[in-house]
Amino acid sequence: MKTRSDSGPVLDKGDVLLEARGLSKGFPGVWEHLILDQLDFDVRSGEVHTLLGENGAGKTVIANILSGYYEKTEGEIRVKGKLVHFRSPREGLAHGIAMVHQELMLVPAFTVAENIMVGLDAPLFSYGIAGVEKRIQRLVERYGLQVDPKARVEDLSAGQQQRVEILKVLFHEPEVLLLDEPTSLLTPSEADQLFVVLRAMADDGKGIVFISHKMREVFAVSDRVTVLKLGKTQGTCQIAETNEDELTRRTFGETVPDYMERPEVAHEELALNTIEMVPSGLEKKPNSQGISLKIRCGEIMGLAGVSGNGQTELIEAVTGLVPPASGEVWILNADMTGRTPKEFIERGVAHIPERRREIGIVEQMHVAENVVLKDYRKTPFSKNTVLRHQQISSHAEKIVEKFNALVPDLWQTECRILSGGNIQRLILGRETWRKPPVIIASHPTEGLDAKAIRHTWELFLALRAEGSAVLLVSEDLDEIMSLSDRIAVMFEGKIMGIVDGKGADREILGHWMAGGTASAA
């Protein structure tokens, strides 16, 4: 497949397409240190250049600056040797630089074609939707990015939405494509398909910048790799000249254990029990079937799966946020089907939500208020509906201290100015201080540094030792395998299988995550 795009320029392999020298970026007032510090980086025609690094290493910021969405603080950027200064993403696009954002930059109410039209430079009163749909079809066929141009984006799965994002930039025939963690929403096989696409585009002479923190992917697709740590480059090398261990060391500093040893906790009582339960929102899926999930007290159940396969709906059902479409939810031997979130909380269900800024906290309220977001109505924090600030303060202080949250002031600081990591610390503290019998944790360590991740894991194990049941929902297979007593895999609203955490086979899990039906050994 060597068909060139209709308008794409002919490029020689190996030419430097995009080059950054001494790139720095600071957010004064928010971060004391520079988020990017004197970074050199380039991407050449015909290569896939991976930016590898932990969360918070500055990968996204680089991409945002190179594509024109952020302005750099210092340094220079050249496109094919010519010094440029982008003030907007559109200027970046005009120079052939396009970015696919990690968070979806889509209009949910629009169709796929309409979403693509948003970025077109068409005359005001034209309406080229038919042409756009046709061209999408062509791109879909060429790159195997299966998606219906007439479908409404909000009806698509996360993986499909990701494809729309890629289609959106492909439409502009970019020379350099920056993809920020594009696989985070894809199944392993979808990711592999994407890599084929990226390869094909590189072979077309485009330069691909691929951002990832997953080692497997780095080796699957890259030509070169640059490791980034806390805004500083740890060096660039050809993929052929390095290996996984070396990269892991450079990226994370240490390797994670496969399975954290822990003593047996023998409880027979069921903490969470769903009986043929179909979460609301999944009942319309083809062959939806009831989920029967049983978690004993003192057990950590890992729930693996690619996002968008029903985990969110399952969590909503077992926390009472949305009553299930059918079936029953039991918590500690009480039928909680159809009860309110408040009743679930009172029954002892803690919930560490995935969308922490959106539902985990009230951003405009102060730190202290957020710490008691679920407890303000209980003694000692209020008495006869009157809040007792003294008690709330000292409690919040304790939580902040115990979880090392960086918080300027309990009653002056609105939560919105806190970083994601600090918010997560507050939420972890709020949800676990009562030692709840049931903890539903969704991506609990996302955005935390390595030390905090370690703390969190230890916290879960400690709670487990005291008899708490944990439902750990994560896309990070490493985390799930390290922590879980048992691992369940979810795909398209169904539980594909459950295996013991100790000695779980990564390949079988991956197979289930992609919808395969292989049985556990």
């Binding site: 957010f27 004064p28 007032g29 928010v30 100015i417």
Partner: protein
């Protein structure tokens, strides 16, 4: 994130702005203090008058504007100075009256509108040496207060008779009344109009030998401001065969007349019938002079003017004065005051000065087209009302208006 960055920068600047700001506030306050001499200004030679209006304010081309007309004439003829005080809310009535009285600079304070009655009662008692006058109120009884009441029912009876006879003459079997908010003063208009219609029907039968059964269409629109209601109500009445529409809702007359104008235009005509009857002021000049048949003039201007005049002449006396057909305080519009009111309309921007001649011509033509006996009949009723032989009912409250509606049905 940039936003937060900005905020931090701005916070550093805020303190400085604050300090600077307080200095400025101080400066402004000082300026205020320095700006004036003593607060009360001196009174002019012939006298200074305060005119306190209710919330309707000016621009109704009827009641309130008539009050102004009276004071304007006093300015011109008597050399007094007049200060207009508008009320934004009923809460302003008492303070406005008090402020005027307390200032001591006014020789007379005139309140226009019965809603101010309670405020007047209090202030007139508080300031026994201040002279007051009030329009549309007759029940307060203070020695320093001239109360001027109007017999709107009688005037409405006269135009009611005219409406019924003209409608019958042009072959219509209905007349209409578009009223504003349901208030007692409007009951008086309604009562009189009903009486007049029945009188006119009887007179028509008597004069022509043909039975006349012109009926009444009427509606309270609940507004003195939404012109659309006047227009829609008038259109409805025209569709039901009304030949004359009585506007008893101030500015809604604009809509009444617009409806009539468009109704005529659709027939390729400009002159009525159908006609409108104007209210309070002489509104005959509107509609090119030939779509407003007549107006029930409530001479608020006379009331205001005579109160001012009595102060200037030193003949001011407290007590009730009733203005009605007998003394010209209530009258049907006639030729003598048409020119006067054309000027009123020109000043108000309602018509252009160049239209004057055409309007007078049209108006004369309109009136001449109506048989002389009708005008004579109207004059006869007016005389009967003046000498008391014709007793026009006056519906001041809901119960009496119900009786009147039963006695003089639609």
């Amino acid at each position: 994130m940039l936003v937060f960055g900005d905020d931090v920068v701005s916070k550093m600047r805020r303190n400085e702005v604050n300090k600077w700001f307080f200095r400025m506030v101080g400066l402004v306050a000082t300026l205020f203090m320095l700006a004036g001499g003593p607060f009360m200004a001196s009174a002019s030679a012939a006298g200074k008058i305060a005119l306190v209006l209710d919330v309707g304010g000016r621009g109704d081309l009827s009641f309130n504007d008539m009050g102004f007309k009276g004071s304007d004439e006093a300015v011109a003829n008597l050399g007094v100075e007049v200060v207009e005080i508008q009320s934004n809310s009923a809460a302003d009535y008492l303070p406005n009256m008090q402020n005027a009285a307390r200032s001591g600079q006014f020789d007379l304070i005139v309140a226009v509108g019965f809603l101010i009655a309670d405020a007047m009662a209090e202030v007139a008692g508080q300031f026994p040496d201040q002279k007051f006058a009030i329009i549309d109120v007759t029940w307060l009884g203070k020695p320093n207060l001239m109360e001027i009441g109007y017999e709107e029912n009688k005037g409405s009876a006269i135009v009611g008779a005219l409406s019924a006879m003209v409608a019958a003459h042009y072959g219509y079997d209905k007349i209409g009344a578009v009223l504003g908010i349901e208030i007692p003063v409007l009951y008086k208009f309604e009562a009189g109009y009903r009486y007049g219609m029945h009188w006119g029907n009887a007179k028509y039968a008597e004069e022509t030998g043909k039975a006349s059964d012109v009926g009444l269409l009427w509606t309270y629109t609940g507004t003195f401001s939404d012109i659309a209601k006047g227009k829609a109500a008038t259109e409805a009445m025209l569709a039901q065969g009304a030949g004359v529409i009585y506007n008893v809702a101030g500015p809604l007359g604009i809509g009444d007349l617009e409806a009539i104008t468009e109704h005529l235009e659709a027939k390729g005509k400009s002159a009525g019938p159908p006609f409108m009857i104007g209210v309070d002021a002489n509104q005959d000049y509107l509609g090119d002079g030939h779509r407003v048949l007549a107006s029930m003039m409530k001479r608020v201007d006379f009331g205001v003017y005579s109160a001012i005049e009595s102060v200037v002449n030193g003949t001011f006396e407290g007590g009730v004065q009733i203005l009605g057909p007998h003394n010209g305080g209530i009258a049907m519009s006639g030729e003598q005051d048409l020119a006067d009111f054309i000027q009123f309309g020109v000043n108000g921007g309602a018509i252009g000065a160049s239209d004057r001649q055409a309007i007078i011509q049209n108006w004369t033509g309109m009136r001449e087209d109506i048989p002389a006996w009708i005008w004579e009949a109207v004059a006869e009723l007016q005389a009967q009302i003046s000498d008391g032989t014709a007793e026009v009912p006056c519906g001041w409250c809901p119960d009496t208006i119900k009786e009147i509606r039963a006695k003089y049905p639609d």
